[in-house]
Symmetry: C2
Subunit: 93 residues, 2 copies
DNA sequence: AATCTATTTAGAAAATTTTCTAAATAGATT
DNA sequence: AATCTATTTAGAAAATTTTCTAAATAGATT
């Protein structure tokens, strides 16, 4: 689903979106719960959620008329891998 | 020096800048050497270098009339730490 | 079926980022 | 001292991102 690193790193480059990710560490939260933590409209938070979703960092789950979001840890692993290239990278290159 | 994560993640969110970082894995390179790998003006690459420098991801070193850039691995460690928060984060929180 | 509740989508304005051209800087060479 | 070489800075244009308001969607309740 995620188009690649460009999209994922762009998603990670915003304070609000990183805050959302931290917020989801201990389990899923609805769009409304997430939005209530910020001083911006629900529409704007929804925009940020869509960016995180496109980047593959979160997934959604509909229940009643709520939409719950939760972390997709596998993409975090991928980003970690990218950083691993800088750990004593001299050997393989 | 780096103002914090916002700046560092913003710096990492651009393809050109991530490419520069990869390019510096096997040692320092001058601004000109770096610029020659891209299809953009030296001035533009200089702009990207300044963003990476402000983010603390690279440092510069003047020699003759060249300016050499190299990775500052300690800031990479810091970013890795941020990601570590998502690794089985349930216990401590 | 009408209404309510939670959320997203569309479209526009504001803010930020990226890129360029032209000029500036600064050390090295003639 | 004049010039050359490598690089950056300034300022503007173009592109992208963030935010808002208003309207749309869709499932739940009355």
């Amino acid at each position: 689903m995620p188009m690649g690193f460009q999209e994922t790193f762009k998603a990670l480059s915003d304070d609000v979106r990183r805050e959302i990710l931290l917020m989801l560490r201990n389990g899923k939260k609805s769009a409304g719960e997430i939005a209530s933590c910020f001083d911006m409209t629900n529409a704007t938070v929804s925009y940020h959620l869509s960016i995180l979703k496109k980047a593959g960092l979160i997934t959604e789950e509909k229940e009643k008329n709520y939409i719950f979001y939760k972390l997709n840890t596998s993409v975090f692993e991928d980003v970690m891998m990218w950083f691993a290239q800088f750990k004593d990278g001299k050997k393989s290159e």
